[in-house]
Symmetry: C2
Subunit: 517 residues, 2 copies
């Protein structure tokens, strides 16, 4: 029956069948029991999930973030997971919530990680529904989805979307993990690993205390692997396993005009306009094709290995569909695919602001203009060096670079002044080799739950501070994402496609049930 | 006694004394009576002024704008000025408030014009005090002025500042005009002109209905001159008379990224960032020196006449002081003075916005980036042509220019799309010759109230839709500003230096008392 003329495709079919033959018997049973459990408990799962989503979860909002932690603590306590709130030394820090499923006779452990905090929200931009008022839609709003209410009984349409901050990123991960546990335990399944759970509360703030929490609780944190449940599945809808993340560093850049706002008529074309100054500075940072023109930007990037290059070549081509769906006639990267370009460091403008636009716009020359930059790093980059390259570039454009608002003396001495602040919480990229036994075990477990060939991604475009973990513990990190890629993660109108949670529960249960190699 | 070696200075002293000799006897008497009246009525004037300032006055806020009109109507009625609300045909349009001081035997009229609406406010930017809660400070906030309360009795320190939207722009003009009238009438002064009053309610929105109101009431609007009381005195503190205004046109420019906000990690350096696209576009519009690089921008500019060039040469040099005060090491215009460069058309960025900055910044690629541009025009420019030059330039940068958010088809066809909207209310520049008899009369009247040589400005940097008036009526416009130049006009924390109102009352009374030539 294997009669494909394409040798790559034949190899794939063979590899795929082999993977199935190895892992299918054990796991397929688990998958069907997991699915039965989920079908029988949909309402309970959704009820618990929406109650969690209704608690505002911005890392800087100390009282509410603690309400989240307390809620998670309680639902883990009810499950008998003996949860603990792991606190950092400094006050008002979101605690991590830890628990464990001890398996008799298991000598190895894995940790399943998710985070319960979310990105900041600007409620007025949430046109679908308020960010902390979980709301169902019959489909994505962009696809015409309308607000719907859950039926009184019966199955819920799994194409429905649940709109709320962190519905995808990353409370879905947390609920997926705990529900997978529920399903396995209800069926008396016995994993080969001790299963540890760690739910962090300030990942979106750059995990400034995760290292400290690991240091304080090293015994709890040891594991053969940290399985990170965060981020979306592949754009094609296929499941994926991700072996690396980009590093991340945010930088605020502010440039200055006159000390007070000026009437744009009385002073326009005499007083310099900081919005123009900033535009010129930002424009100097990239060329037409989107390549970063900052000297040293691509220095030191570590090349991919064979397994990684093969995985990229094998991944489904999806860029054209994606461009079409996103309404983009052209993308950056000189024709390279998305999967390729995310193996390069990036420079993104998260936001710019100067004066006002829309109804509040006035005829003024603003006093300042600010941009927030997002630097993504790949294996081989250093976040500190990347900031230095940026600062050097800004200096080369003629700016006096400072870390404070300029004094009168500085204003007198320098026509161009930029305040450049690297935000706390920067970190480097991380990548686990795909050919390690634990990597292969995770790939097989996830593949066992999917009839489509899963995608193996050397590096995710997104970031997690995984170096904080791997620098401290002799372990590796492997990311198993579950949510839909079009979830509006980090933006307004974040949402989860329900079927992704259902599939994710099965994926995570399979990972929990994998065998040590 | 005239022994200056600088011939320009000698000529000035001579010209100045001549002006004094001609006009001083008549006007000086009026000035002292006006000052006496003001001193005796300070509390009443301030009380009426602060009550007016407490009424929100954004032109688009129909209910409140009408409360302003009603308030002004009532205080004019109490003065016996037989006010009328002049309505445009379209509903919810701010009415103009008209009144007249009929002088027995006077066959000529002048109109004193001010506007009672103000620029939009963003209350959270008003760090001094809320925009519609008039608040006194002991000095400008930037100079350390503290909040103070009026003393129970006695003279009020005239260096104090009154903070509120329109405290300077332009309710000060309105109160100055009505109080000058009070002072003159209380002393039974008899002007040579009929004095007409016109207070407009949507100047900051570009006076979209002023032309219609003039057309509907042409008989009321006829005058030898419209005296416009708006804008600030010279930066040196000297009084000034202004003979022209720049034209004005606001343009909104929006550029597009993907149809939905994208995670900056998963899509950064693949999906184009609209903030970068906009930065590159804006940067293409000006060179290093601030000169506009848009083709045709400086075409057709009408050169200044002899009187105008002389007035510029005679004006006090003030640019160095201004740069120092504003904290600017360098200004645009290749070394030209502020007074010179405002005789050229300008391009200003009023505001730019894309994504968020500060605490709300998230790691996203925004969907759009918007700039509001302010085009100032001088005599010889056409606002329609200037917009066309801008659009042509944007096209030359490779953009498909449209007037709506792009459709899916347009997105597929064009990598670069800009929505360009010229806001309603654009108008051309206007300039009255300085050597007309009425021009000379106004100069002499204002000069008679000042021991310093007044400044004669061919063109103000600011704009007023004066062509709406001069296109319809056989008249000229001459602007007599009264407020302090550092009033934060159009921006947050707008304020008035009290002494400017006091001086302005005397200025305006002198103008009302001038003789027809």
């Amino acid at each position: 029956m294997i009669c494909y003329s394409n040798p790559r495709k034949s190899a794939f079919i063979c590899g795929y069948l082999c993977a199935l033959l190895v892992s299918l018997p054990v796991i397929a049973m688990a998958q069907s029991t997991v699915r039965d459990y989920r079908r029988a408990h949909e309402r309970t799962i959704i009820d618990e999930f929406t109650r969690l989503l209704a608690i505002p979860n911005i890392a800087s909002d100390a009282p509410n973030i603690r309400r989240n932690a307390q809620f998670i603590f309680e639902i883990m306590q009810r499950r008998g997971l003996k949860p603990q709130l792991l606190e950092a030394k400094s006050k008002n820090t979101p605690p991590a919530v830890y628990g464990e499923w001890k398996v008799a006779g298991a000598s190895h452990s894995i940790i399943l990680y998710a985070h319960y905090d979310g990105q900041p929200v600007d409620p007025k931009q949430w046109t679908a529904s308020p960010p902390f008022q979980p709301t169902w839609r019959s489909a994505a709003m962009e696809a015409g989805g309308q607000i719907v209410t859950l039926p009184a009984s019966g199955e819920i349409n799994s194409e429905w979307r649940l709109y709320a901050r962190s519905s995808s990123d990353d409370k879905a991960g947390l609920m997926g993990i705990l529900t997978a546990f529920d399903a396995l335990r209800a069926q008396n399944q016995k994993p080969s690993f001790n299963i540890r759970f760690l739910f962090e509360g300030e990942e979106e703030a750059g995990s400034p205390h995760l290292g400290e929490i690991i240091d304080l609780h090293k015994d709890l944190m040891q594991a053969d692997a940290w399985i990170i449940c965060d981020g979306p599945v592949h754009q094609s809808g296929r499941k994926q396993v991700v072996f690396g993340v980009r590093g991340d560093q945010n930088v605020d850049v502010t440039v200055y005009g006159a000390k007070r706002p000026l009437h744009s008529g009385h002073y326009g074309n005499w007083a310099p306009n900081p919005a123009m100054t900033l535009s010129r500075l930002l424009a100097s940072m990239k060329d037409d094709s989107g390549r970063v023109t900052i000297a040293g930007w691509y220095e030191g990037v570590e090349p991919l290995g064979d397994a990684e290059r093969r995985a990229i070549a094998e991944a489904p081509a999806y860029d054209d569909e994606l461009r079409s769906e996103l309404g983009l006639a052209r993308t950056e990267g000189d024709g390279k695919s998305l999967m390729e370009v995310i193996n390069q460091p990036s420079l993104n403008i998260n936001g710019v602001s100067s004066g006002d636009v829309g109804a509040l716009a006035r005829n003024v020359i603003p006093t300042t203009a600010t941009a927030v930059l997002d630097l993504r790093l790949v294996k081989g980059n250093s976040y500190r060096k990347q900031v230095q390259h940026l600062v050097d570039h800004i200096r080369k454009q003629g700016f006096h670079v400072i870390d404070h608002d300029p004094t009168d003396i500085e204003r007198k001495q320098h026509a161009l002044i930029a305040k450049v602040i690297a935000r706390a919480g920067g970190y480097d990229a991380e990548r686990t080799r795909m050919d390690l036994p634990i990597s292969v075990a995770v790939i097989n477990a996830v593949q066992s739950t999917s009839k489509d060939r899963i995608v193996k991604l050397p590096t995710s475009g997104g970031s997690l501070p995984l170096s904080i973990i791997t620098d401290r513990l002799k372990t590796v990190t492997i990311t198993v994402p579950i949510v839909n890629y079009d979830n509006n993660q980090h933006a307004e109108n974040e949402n989860l496609r329900l079927q992704n949670l259902w599939d994710g529960i099965e994926t995570l249960a399979a990972v929990m049930m994998m065998k040590p190699s």
